[in-house]
Amino acid sequence: MLPRLPSTQRCHTGPSLTLGMLKECYTSPFPHMSKTALRRRCCALLILLLAVSLFGGSAQQPPPSPLVAAAGDLVQQILSRSGSPSAVAITFQNSSAMSGEMQEIVQTAVFNSFRDAGVRVVKPEAALAEIQIIFSEDWQGYLWIAEIHEGTSTQMVMKKLPRPEHTATGRVPTLTVRKNPVWQQDAPILDFYADNQNLVVLEPDQVSLYANDGGQWRARYTLAINHEQLWPRDLRGRLKLNGGQITAFLPGTLCAGSLSPPSLECHASDDPWTVDHGQIVAFYSPRRNFFSGILSGPSAGASVVPFFSGAAWPSGDQRQWLFAGTDGRARLYQNDLSTPAAVYNSWGSSLAGVHSNCGSGWQMLVTAPTDNIHPDSIQAMEIAGREAQPVSSAIDLTGPVVALWTAGKSGETVNTVMQSTVTGRYEAFTLTVTCN
C-alpha cells in the first residue's frame, strides 16, 4: 500500500489511551524506545511539559500548540469522512523531518481527540475502521495524511500545516544592540519617523501619517509624492522631521511639507541629502542607488569615492568619517577627507553611526556582506585608532536590510527597515546600543 517511504517510523496503537500505556502501542520501535518503562513515562511527561513551555503557555491555561490543534482538526476530518465509527485502530508513520518528540505530542493529541469524540482506540481485530496516519511534508510545511480503511473502502484525508518556527540562541555580547519594533506593512518603507504622538512613513509614492491612539497607530493622512521621473530600482529615500516640518529626499526629487496641516509638495531637485544627523550632507545619483561622493554641508567642497552609506562622529578633538563605498570597501577618514586612514573589506554596504553611553560613545552599526536577497545581520563596531572592533554580537534578521539611517536629535537611534524573507513584509524598527 505504501511503496516508498524512505524514512519511516511505525507505531501500532493498543487499547489504552493512558499516558503510561502510550508507548506500548508501538509494534516497531523508534530508536529511543529501547529505554525502560519508567524512563519512558518520565520522558512522556517531560515531553508534555516541553510542549506546554515550547508554545508559550502559562501554568494556568496553556494555549493549545498549533500542532496539537491541527491534530484535533485532523481527527475531526477523519470522523466526518468515516461516519464516526465507535472503535478504530490507528497506526502512525513519520516520513517527515518532524522530531520523534514532536511526533509523540501529536500522537497523544490524536488519541485524546478520538477519546474526546467518544471513539475508542482498539486493536485492529476489534476495530470498525483502521486508520493509518502518515506524517509527510512538502517544501513549505507538513502534510498529514490519514488513510481510512473501512471494510473494502478506503478514504483519505490530508491536512497541510506550516512548520513551527524555531528561534535562534544568542551569544554573549560586550554591548547590546536593541531592536525596537515600530511598524510593518506590505508596501516598501524607505524611512520613517516616530515619536510618542506621530508615526510618519516614507514610501515610494506617498508619505503616510499615523497618530498614536491608545498605543495603536491609527492612519491619519497619506500625502502623495508626485515625481516626474521613474524611480530607480533599489529605491532609497530619507525622511527628516523638524518641528512638524517634513523633508523627504528621494532620487532627483525633494519634498517639503508639514504634519499640521498635513501637506507635501514635491519637485525635481538635485539638492544634497542629509545622510546622518546632520554631519554628512551629500549629493545622490538621481537614477541610481548611491551617493556620488561629492559632499556638501559641513564638508562642502570635499569629495570621496561614491558610497552607499556613511557616518561621521567626533573622537576627542578629532573628526572621523566612515563611508561604505560602492566598490565594496568601507573607508575610514580621520581629520580630513583627502586620504582614507583605513579600509575595511568585509562589511556590508549599509552602515550608520549611533551615539550611546557605552564604550567610546559612538558605535557603527554595520550590515553583513550578504546579497540583498538573503537574510542580513547587524553588528556594532567601534573604531579604536584605525582598528574596527566588533563590540556586540550580531543581530540575525529574517531578511535583507533595505534602509539604515542614523536618527534622533544626536544620533542616538538608527532607523532600520528590513524586508522579511518569511512574510515578504517591510518591517521598520529602531536600533539603539546599550551597555551590559
Binding site: L2, P3, R4, L5, P6, S7, S95, S96, A97, S136, E137, D138, W139, Q140, Y142, L143, I145, M156, V157, M158, K160, L230, W231, P232, R233, D234, L235, R287, R288, N289, F290, P306, F308, T326, D327, G328, R329, N345, S346, W347, G348, S349, S350, T367, A368, P369, T370, D371, N372, I373, H374, D376, P400, V401, T421, V422, G424
Partner: protein, 480 residues
Amino acid sequence: MKHSRSRLLAISCLLLAAAGGHSSSRPHYGGTARVLLQYRVNSIDPAAEEDHPATRDRMARLTFETLTQVDPQGRVHPRLASSWRPDPAKRVWQLRLRLASFHDGTTVTAADVVASLKNAEPGWRYTATDRQTVTIETPSPITQMPELLAVEKFAVVKRLPDGTLLGTGPYRLSQWHPGEHALFTANEDYWGGRSYPDSIEFQMGAGLREQLLQRQLGPYAAAELTPDGIRTLDQSGQEVLLSRPADLLVILFLQPDNAGVAGRKKPIDPRLRQALSSAMDRDAISNAMLQKKGSPASGLLPQWLTGYEFLLDSAFDRARARKLAADAGLGVPSPPISLAYDFSDPVAKLVAERIAFDASQAGITVRPYGESHVNSKSAQASMNADAVLLRLPLASLEPSVALAALAGDLGLAPETASSALQAVRPEDLLQAERKALENFRVLPVAHVSQALWLNANAHNWQQLPNGLWDLDQLWVEGVR
C-alpha cells in the same frame, strides 16, 4: 528522501556561505551578464511550440511579463496586474492593470492583454471591462488563477502585423540569432525601474566542458550544467547552484488506447506498459545515470512539492514485470517498444539505455534511439516511435497549476488539467494525479534537479525551487 534532503540542505548552506563571501550587498548598476545555455531555441515567443520551452522561457521572461509572479517562497505577487479579485465561485476573475508601456512606448491596455491571453488560452472568455481592467471567465472554477497566470505561457505579448513581438519587461531584445545568441538590453523606461545590468547576453547550445577546457568561464556570469558538468566543476571547487529535483523525466506512450486510425501504429498493450513501469529500477537511474542529482519518480509531481508522491506506487518488481509482460504477449514474446529520446541531451540517452537494459531483464524489448525533436507536439505527431522519453519542467510551485501544465505538456485528457485546477484539497490533487497515471500511458521515471554554475561576480541570481530563474534583482560586480 532524507539523504537528498540533507544534501539539499548542505547545498543551500554552502550557497548561503558563498553568498556571504561577497564584499557588498547593495546592487551595482552596469555591466553585462553573460550566460551559457545548454540548449538551442529558435523562437522567443512564449506561445510558440518549442523543443526546449524551459530554455526559451528563461530568456522570454526578461522581455515578456506575466500578470502575476511567484517568488522563491511560492508567494504570488502583482506584476503587470496590480490587483485582482474573483467572484465567490472562482469562475470570474477581474484583474486591474498597472500603468506600464510596451517597448515601443505604447501604453498597455486591457485590449492588449485580452488579445494576448486569447492566444495563450482560447478556451476562456475575456472582456476588456475598461482600459485598465480585464475580466476572465472560465468554464469551471480555478482556485489558483493568480498562480496560473504567473506561468510564462500567459505572458503578455503584443504582436505587430509585421510579426514583431513586443513586451513590457525590464529588458528589450536587441539581438536575436535563432539557436545561437541573444542580447537583451536594459529597458530604461521599465515601470519597476531600470534593471541593474546594462545587458544580459545568452549563448545557446554552448558546451560548458569546452569553455572549461579553454579556461574561458571568466567572462560568464552563469552556465547551465549537465550532471557530468557538475562533477567537473565540483572537482575544480566552483560554485554550483542546484534546484530541487523538479524536472520530470517521463516516458510517454504516443498512441492513446482509443487510437484506431488506419496506418498509425497500434497502442502498446496497457499490461506491457505496466510491465515496463515495474521493470524500471528508478533508484539506479537516479543514483547512477543522474549522478544523484535526481530522485525516483512515482508521480508526476515531486514529493517535495506535494508531500504525497510516495502514495503512488511505482515499485521496482522484476518478477511482476515478467508476469505482466507474459500476460500481455499471451505466450508470444511481446513486440519491441521503440523509445525516442532527445538527441541533444546526453542524460536522456543514458537513461533511455538504462531503461532498455532493465526492460530486457524482464523479457521486454525496448529500442532507444535519438531524435532531434521530441518535445513539441508536432514532432511527436510525426514520430514513428511507440514512446518518447521527455524531460518536462515544473511550471509552477503551486501543485495544481504544475499538474495542469504537465497534463498539457503530456497531451493528457483535458479533464486532468481541469480537475487539477479545481482541486481545493491535496487529496483532490492526488486523485487527479492517480487518474492521469492509471492507464500507464505515462510512466514517471525521475525528478531531476537543474544545475547552474554561478560566477562569484554575479549577485542576486535567484533560482526558484523548481529551477526557474528570477533575474529581477541580478547585478554583476566589477562595474558601477
